[in-house]
């Protein structure tokens, strides 16, 4: 279904419009009035995000559900509104909301640009949301760049800190290279088929060819930059370390989720012909990411670098679910379930890290010594988060991994699951090291307790911890939700 006039077409993009409006308000306010306090921006952003997430649910009514026509096509057939894209709107908005809440302890570092900071969080969210609904290569690329450029600036927002600028520069350079790789792949596809929409490209490609295989390898490789997966993962540790903790968490969740959203749509809709090729490419990326991320994380001494390598490893685990794309949509459902639960838990972890760093306790893992005494809430949330990231039951991380592994075994990737299991054991060593430092090592007995976290950040920390612990009780409904969202990607 499409609309005759651009005005009517705007109705298809209410959540995106709200996000854009919110970003504009925050941005203009920052320009007009320099002294607006941070809570105002926080409130504005929260309002925008809640409104955007809420409005997206409106589309569920009357959405076509037939397998051949799973959603609306909007905006010159550049975007699609289906259950898959609608699933991502509230999820991505929730990620951003938690980031906003987690940003309170680092307000000092971003003070001169607090308005721009929130505006950029919203434009990044807009980019991510558009990415999840792109069905055409131009829209895909524009959305990706909107997301990326917002993130480059967010990383470098503490202009006076050399580390932050360095991280932003590295991010930009790697990002540009990744975009080039991706663009090359997209250009090849256009050259081969003369079409830009993903479905059209799929029809145009016809049978498998060497050029198609090359194009899809380039596209997947370019996207691994967003996923933070091997081969384009090198930026991750430096950027996480240079960025503030909330922004690092934002990149680890929102950017990763958006990357997986478009990756799934591209490989599923565009490349049914060369399935064995892309499965092999992704399986390789998954295996290498798991091994590299989890093994190198063992050697880290700084908290955010540890989380960075952990995030590479996690990207590998999620890719196992992408590989395991069985003939029905459940492999996708496993990935969506993983993305959502992982995101909430990781944002809680980063909120706790933001609190610890914001209180001046330090960034080394050893600075977390005795945290169970100095800040029981942050320590407990971090502990639960770490256990969930390993995937130890009854935390939600266990179910996320279980579903991904089940999908992979069913799809015949038992070897990848065995590797993933081995890497899970390895990952426990560094995740539990954090637990050990906080709970076992006494640290300096005279070290003063940390101040209580700001109330909003406390909320983010608590949501992350409680989600890790308690979402396990609602596993079935959540998985059913993810299953519904995966519907439009069913291979027919």
């Amino acid at each position: 279904m499409s609309h005759p006039s651009p005005f009517a077409a705007a109705v298809d993009l209410i959540p995106e419009g709200i996000l854009l409006l919110g970003a504009l308000v925050c941005g203009s306010l920052a320009v007009v009035h320099r002294r607006v306090p941070a809570p105002v921006y926080r409130g504005l952003s929260a309002l925008t995000l809640v409104a955007a997430a809420g409005s997206s649910l409106v589309y569920l009514r009357g959405l076509p559900t037939s397998p051949s026509n799973p959603g609306y096509v909007a905006w010159s057939e550049g975007l699609v509104v289906d259950r898959y894209s609608i699933f991502f709107v509230p999820v991505l908005c929730a990620f951003t909301l938690m980031t906003v809440l987690a940003s309170a302890p680092v307000a000092q570092r971003i003070r001169p640009h607090v308005g721009e900071y929130h505006a950029l969080l919203l434009t990044a969210t807009l980019g991510a949301v558009l990415l999840a609904s792109a069905r055409e290569m131009i829209a895909f690329y524009v959305a990706l760049e909107l997301l990326s450029i917002s993130l480059y600036i967010l990383v470098g927002i503490s202009k006076t800190e050399p580390r932050s600028s360095e991280a932003a520069f590295k991010y930009l350079v790697y990002g540009a290279a990744a975009s080039a790789v991706l663009l090359y792949g997209l250009a090849l596809l256009y050259g081969l088929t003369g079409r830009t929409d993903l479905v059209g490209v799929a029809h145009g490609l016809g049978s498998s060819s060497a050029a198609a295989a090359l194009a899809l390898t380039l596209v997947i490789a370019g996207l691994t930059f967003k996923l933070g997966a091997v081969p384009l993962h090198q930026w991750v540790p430096d950027v996480y370390e240079g960025a503030t903790a909330p922004v690092a968490g934002f990149i680890a969740t929102l950017s990763k989720a958006a990357g997986f959203a478009i990756l799934l749509r591209v490989v599923v809709t565009t490349f049914p012909v060369a399935r064995s090729t892309w499965l092999a490419v992704i399986a390789l990326a998954a295996a290498l990411s798991m091994v590299l991320g989890n093994v190198v994380a063992l050697a880290q001494s700084r908290m955010k670098r540890l989380l960075a390598y952990s995030s590479i490893g996690q990207a590998g685990f999620i890719l196992v679910g992408v590989v395991a794309y069985p003939p029905d949509q459940q492999g996708v459902a496993a990935v969506l379930f993983y993305l959502f639960t992982y995101g909430i838990v990781v944002l809680g972890v980063f909120a706790a890290v933001a609190h610890v760093e914001g209180s001046g306790a330090g960034e080394e893992i050893d600075d977390y010594r005795g945290l169970s005494r100095r800040s029981p809430i942050a320590a407990a949330a971090l502990a639960v988060g770490m256990v969930s990231l390993i995937g130890i039951p009854p935390t939600i991380g266990f179910f996320a991994k279980l579903f991904v592994f089940e999908a992979a075994v069913q799809a015949g990737y038992a070897w990848l699951v065995l590797l993933a299991l081995a890497m899970t054991v390895v990952s426990a060593a560094y995740y539990l090291r954090v637990l050990r430092v906080m709970y076992v090592d006494a640290g300096d007995q005279d070290a003063a307790p940390l101040p209580w976290p700001p109330r909003v950040t406390l909320a983010a920390i608590a949501v992350g911890g409680l989600a890790a612990l308690a979402l396990g009780a609602a596993v079935q409904p959540l998985f059913a939700l993810a299953g519904g969202a995966a519907g439009p990607l069913t291979v027919r």
Partner: protein, 537 residues
């Protein structure tokens, strides 16, 4: 291996022939009907989760003053006592039920839980003759552990929270009748035990805690791999025991892979030489109550897994590789007991002794006859009580003398006669003195294993002689001989100590003198396994 006595009837008859009066379990096949629906079926749910509920309450209790810490202890005691009463109630019901025929699982609860990839997983709980005695053991030992921790003043709140979460995991494991649920509970104990060793342990606690963790995670990973294999390649479309542990015909390759994955997984837990190296470290570095839990209960997860998962899900492969199992049992028995003989540290001695005792369980798993498996279950219960008692006693000696070195101790009998009496009792029980729990169990295993594995059985029996040697030698060096001046003013057992030691003594005696009361219950559970092994279910 094909000569294994597999008929429940035959095994029951031989049992009647070779054992004294009270030991005459009713032979026979279990009936397939379950009596689950007739009960208020929240018994097991309550039993499992009540300890977690207590832990959640304790999290919010302050621990600044001595009075507040006292309240936390009382709460922990209450939380662990409820499951004991329920387990005793359940067992008692089952014993009285015996006349009215067999059963498979009782107190069953089954609810749909997760459906993904068209494979179902249920919240399915239930107990039978194999799990009920172990459940009793576990619940009792946790009360004992709480009492033995009464004097601990360090981070009391965290300590009891971890202990109670651990109990939820263990009890849940014994009650699970669904592989996802089973695995979930299997891993719940991991982090609490890691922290219990790492925070309240001895000087090398960090090393021991990491070693424990890596071994256990490996065990879990292997188990999960096997579970996924079983559920997805077995073709049953379910993780439920009802589908997977009842006559599912697996292809030879899947069965072999699944058998080895689960066998190695639980061999780490049991432990079996050469996968045992985590055990001496963990047991020695852990504090006394934690050692009691480790040796008394956590090892039984391995034994229970061997019976329920390895034999229950892969009976054909288990039969095929029974010789390998028996060979490992022989190696473990000799290795464990010889190593115990060489120890100077009391705790290390008991720890290596555990390896020897659990090897007897493994022998039964290899022998796969009804009488041997009955013995294996009883051996696990007996070993749980006896070794728990020994670790508690080592704790009492260490508390008084600040040493566990056998060569530095001596003549303690003169200072602490009451404790010495209990020591001697525990030592004799551990070496298998008739009329105590260990004897009955070991005797049954040997009787059941001898017809098919004569040589192996004789060798393992020889290891009992070594056990006798190291225990008596230890008792002689520590308690008898001339009194040492350094230990002149040692106190004898305190009321609190007697309060948790004496019930253990009573339990060991009851299981030894009147096993006939509980054997029919155990046999009912084992009969299902044996029927499965013989291919008739």
């Amino acid at each position: 291996m094909n000569g294994v006595v597999l008929s429940g009837l035959h095994a029951g008859m031989s049992l009647a022939q070779v054992t004294p009066g009270p030991l005459t379990p009713t032979p026979g096949q279990p009936t397939t009907t379950t009596t689950g629906g007739e009960f208020p079926t929240l018994l097991l749910t309550t039993l499992i989760w009540v300890t977690l509920a207590a832990a959640l309450v304790i999290i919010f209790m302050p621990e600044r003053t001595a009075e507040q810490r006292g309240r936390i202890r009382l709460m922990a005691l209450a939380g662990t006592t409820v499951p004991v009463l329920m387990a005793i109630g359940g067992l008692n019901y089952q014993i009285n039920q015996e006349g009215s025929g067999g059963f498979s699982y009782v107190f069953e609860e089954k609810h749909q839980w997760i459906t993904a990839f068209s494979v179902h997983s249920n919240y399915h709980l239930g107990v039978d003759g194999v799990s009920l005695p172990l459940l009793l053991l576990s619940t009792v030992l946790f009360v004992v552990a709480v009492l033995a921790s009464w004097r601990n003043e360090r981070r009391v709140r965290l300590y009891f929270v971890l202990l109670l979460v651990l109990e939820t995991g263990v009890n849940g494991f014994f009650c699970s009748l669904d592989y996802v649920l089973l695995f979930l509970f299997y891993e719940v104990e991991l982090v609490p035990m890691f922290l219990l060793i790492a925070i309240w342990g001895g000087p090398r606690r960090m090393h021991a805690a990491w070693k424990f963790l890596i071994f256990m995670l490996t065990s879990s990973a292997l188990l999960l791999a096997a579970i996924l294999l079983l559920a997805f390649k077995g073709g049953a479309g379910s993780f439920d025991f009802d589908q997977l542990n009842t006559g599912l015909h697996l292809s030879a390759g899947i069965a072999t892979a699944g058998f080895w994955l689960t066998f190695i997984s639980f061999a780490i837990k049991l432990p079996v030489v050469p996968l045992h190296t985590w055990l001496p470290d963990a047991h020695v570095e852990a504090s006394t109550p934690v050692s009691v839990i480790l040796a008394g209960i956590l090892l039984k997860l391995g034994g229970y897994g061997m019976l329920r998962v390895v034999l229950g899900a892969f009976p054909d492969a288990a039969k095929r590789y029974s010789l390998a199992i028996v060979a490992l049992a022989v190696v473990s028995a000799i290795w464990g007991t010889l190593a115990a003989l060489a120890q100077d540290d009391l705790k290390r001695l008991v720890a290596y002794g555990s390896i020897g005792h659990m090897a007897i369980v493994l022998l039964a798993v290899g022998a796969q006859s009804s009488i041997a498996l009955n013995g294996a279950v009883l051996q696990m219960v007996a070993h749980g009580f006896i070794t728990g008692l020994l670790f508690l006693l080592v704790g009492t000696v260490y508390d008084r003398t600040r040493t566990r070195s056998i060569s530095r101790l001596g003549g303690l009998a003169w200072q602490m006669p009451r404790l010495t009496a209990i020591w001697v009792f525990a030592g004799l029980a551990s070496l298998g003195l008739p009329f105590l729990a260990g004897f009955v169990a070991e005797f049954m295993v040997f009787t059941g294993a001898f017809p098919t594995h004569r040589f192996a059985t004789v060798v393992v029996m020889a290891s009992i002689a070594i056990t006798t040697g190291y225990l008596l030698w230890m008792l002689q060096r520590v308690f008898f001989g001339p009194a040492k001046e350094a230990y002149e003013r040692l106190r004898d057992a305190s009321t609190l100590e007697l309060f948790y030691l004496v019930p253990m003594v009573v339990a060991v005696t009851i299981f030894g003198v009147v096993p006939g009361r509980i054997m029919p219950v155990i046999n009912n559970g084992v009969a299902t396994l044996v029927a499965r092994l013989s291919g008739s279910v």
